[in-house]
Subunit: 373 residues, 2 copies
Amino acid sequence: MSPTDAPISHFHAVIPAGGIGSRLWPLSRAEAPKFLHDLAGTGTSLLRATWERLAPLAGDGRIMVVTGRAHRAAVELQIPELTDNNLVLETEPRDSSAAIGLAAAILERREPGVIIGSFAADHVIRGTRFFNMAVREAVIAAQAGVIATIGIRPTEPAIGFGYIRATQSANIDGASATLTVDEFVEKPTQSLAETYLSSGDYFWNAGMFIAKASVLLDELAATQPEMHAGLMELADAWDTPERGHVVDRVWPGLTKIALDYSVAEPAATKGRLVVVPGEFDWDDVGDFASIAKLHLSGHKTDLAILGEGARVLSDSANGIVVAESGRTIALVGVKDIVVVDTPDALLVTTIAHAQRVKNVVDALRLAGRDDVL
Amino acid sequence: MSPTDAPISHFHAVIPAGGIGSRLWPLSRAEAPKFLHDLAGTGTSLLRATWERLAPLAGDGRIMVVTGRAHRAAVELQIPELTDNNLVLETEPRDSSAAIGLAAAILERREPGVIIGSFAADHVIRGTRFFNMAVREAVIAAQAGVIATIGIRPTEPAIGFGYIRATQSANIDGASATLTVDEFVEKPTQSLAETYLSSGDYFWNAGMFIAKASVLLDELAATQPEMHAGLMELADAWDTPERGHVVDRVWPGLTKIALDYSVAEPAATKGRLVVVPGEFDWDDVGDFASIAKLHLSGHKTDLAILGEGARVLSDSANGIVVAESGRTIALVGVKDIVVVDTPDALLVTTIAHAQRVKNVVDALRLAGRDDVL
């Protein structure tokens, strides 16, 4: 094993495995969220693929998973290697600042000076070599005391992602590709996205953050002092018999806020956020249009079929069909179609309307239809 | 009861209840063919609606149903009034000449001089008063010794039906609206259909035939002498203990041919076919586009929902959804869509492609998928 293939010293990975993926209903459910599905068609769940991607970088026993209590069994089934030590169970979802902040606090207490890297459990990445290079460079940047994110070099004017603008080198030794983040930009319009793409100054925000746990906690202390105090209290109790009591008392009161807003954007404003360009394929597979794109890889006139033992007949149809019910499915003359067939719910929409699936979920929630959510 | 409300003397109705309705898969199946479904949304099956339409015209106990042996229980459930005397069970399907011819032969033997009227079990008719008027006029024409059909006055340039051209009065006493049929015309192109509609000389062929049983059998003797002989043999044995043996020997050998070709067209060529204009709404509901039209009645931007207890969420969707599985169905942004959801099979197509559903059935048959046919 060459030095660059060895696990990274003082590095601990964190996988926040939360989020239902409303735009992927009825495939993704409260009971079986997005990260448990094989959306990339690789034969493993997105969570398992994330784990396997990180294991060579972090080393055995140095990947922490933060997930909901309800998903414990499913997560352990996906990752038999996971020890209790590295499994953080949320009693209820409190968003990514609380989830990643708690992991940071626990790990910093166990191993002062540790660098953590947080990677979503439900994204698709292709190009491990470039992913590894980016993580290693991000860790070097983190060692210099900044917060690093990995920004994906855009390959098309996507309007479904947030962007990061970065134009100046961060001047960090050993991290020559790393740039200082100028600003975060919300999902753009089509024309703006085209401008971003052609400028070469923008990256997709993939929500990957690498930093010393202490640096991340310091940022949190500055912007969310109450949350920070709660997380410290939780971390102090975590490896003691008091954990349960403290969790029950503190966790439900933590502010729900994404790490992008509590840490990343404020750090960028202060010039303490850097971006490592990621030259690998990445997708957050946020809706069925993304999944179709992933599986059709450019062949827009084809029909992508997901689902084990799917029985699909197609007559001049294209788009994507997810066959999870075992039923025979016939598609006749439907273009850019999205059909998601599960035992108790069926979705029919089009690639162009894939984002609007969230409206259905909202309507079902409003109607109290928890049975299909 | 006024004289015109009384049952028609010497008249016996026949309902051939056959045909699976391949274009209505997966709703219509071998086990549950089209005529057993409530496609008009009236709360009763098409078969039951046909029976109830004919009962006042033919009178109690004067409606014969010809159907497949496999459908006996379902038919009797729909029509508890049906006696064994009026139920003809086919051991296998042999098309409409054999089915209607056998009914004619049995009824002529029981009641020489009887007039029979054959009406498909799986069409939708609205406008009972005009239907009744047309049948009564057709019976008057039949008494004069011709074969009468009821042709539907076209309301649009439909390309899914066959047409009947008729320009001259048949000069039959008491049947002043009745015309002599010039010719039968196959399903036309769109431009031809428009010509037919504007000419006023064309009617839709609704497959309704009214004639003395003896006249119909004579026509059959001329064009299909072997079939005629077989039907006579069957009729002779029908009300005897020999029925079973003779059916097993004769029925499977009868030529499969539609009554349109064996009787109606040859009779038209000889000037012995007349058409009574039907001024009522009629549809053969041959595909899901027809059903959608029936239920949307002009409101093309709406979504027709069929199925008891259907749970359908629609966000900017229109077309038709048939919900037979009890599952929650969400349609998002799909236009002119056809979704047919049954417990073991799902169809997704569009109004424009509704006719092509037959291809799916053919493909399934070829693949030996009898489980879903």
